[in-house]
Symmetry: C2
Subunit: 148 residues, 2 copies
């Protein structure tokens, strides 16, 4: 898999059929992670790239999923939790109403979870802001003292 085929797409775009593939190192560099990590996510079932000649070939959709994985991590989610989130991103165009409603509930739950994290972050920011203001008051006092 040396040639990470750019599929030069010659202006005349045949609809979404040639699927724009990426190589593993390509993704690794783009996202600044190791090959090993990407393979690891695959082992965990978070990614499932096609194989071409034994090598992994990632689609745009895989790329998006990888992005989500990394954002999830940056936000402090475990790979297990991220897997849940990713499962909400399927095709589920087919599915009975009940199942779709269930999915909507799951999404709501996930969003509430994220919201809690956001609240915690804002609380920490607020506290840090407090500390900062306190420090600045001390600083201002020091400056006034020096002036006098």
């Amino acid at each position: 898999m040396h040639n990470a085929r750019k599929t030069s797409r010659p202006s005349l775009a045949s609809p979404p059929i040639d699927d724009e593939l990426y190589g593993i190192t390509e993704l690794a560099q783009e996202f600044g992670i190791s090959l090993r990590a990407i393979r690891f996510y695959e082992d965990k079932g978070l990614l499932a790239p096609r194989r071409i000649n034994g090598g992994r070939a990632y689609t745009r959709r895989d790329r998006v999923r990888l992005g989500l994985i990394l954002r999830g991590k940056a936000v402090g989610m475990s790979l297990a939790e991220i897997e849940h989130i990713l499962s909400l991103y399927g095709d589920h165009g087919e599915g009975h109403a009940k199942q779709l409603e269930y999915l909507v509930d799951r999404i709501d739950a996930a969003m509430r979870e994220l919201d809690m994290r956001r609240c915690n972050i804002e609380a920490m920011c607020a506290e840090l802001g407090e500390v900062k203001r306190q420090l600045q008051r001390t600083l201002a006092a020091k400056r006034r003292a020096r002036k006098a």
Copy 2:
């Protein structure tokens, strides 16, 4: 350390001198974590309770720090990162202007970090919201189909 002395504070409040101490199990229950975890945070230098009769005695300040630790964790920070944040919460009432300015910079950096996480969370929420709207459109279509 069976008696987690409530220091009944008899209305006549002598200034901040008796310091309202907490026992380890008390804190563990209040925050819903294990004793082992609290001791672990101590090993990592995140907490430094006084000792009374061989037992750990936590002040209000320790309690606040523990709260910060747990919020930090909920936000996806490592204990090492949390340690940095906590170091910003010291007494540093004494310190030269240079050092105070440095602290302010550190705080700003920490707040920027937190802000990035917040952005990531909001992005994930937005994407989930998209998925949700899509699902709801599909659901609505199904309902219309059933109606007809």
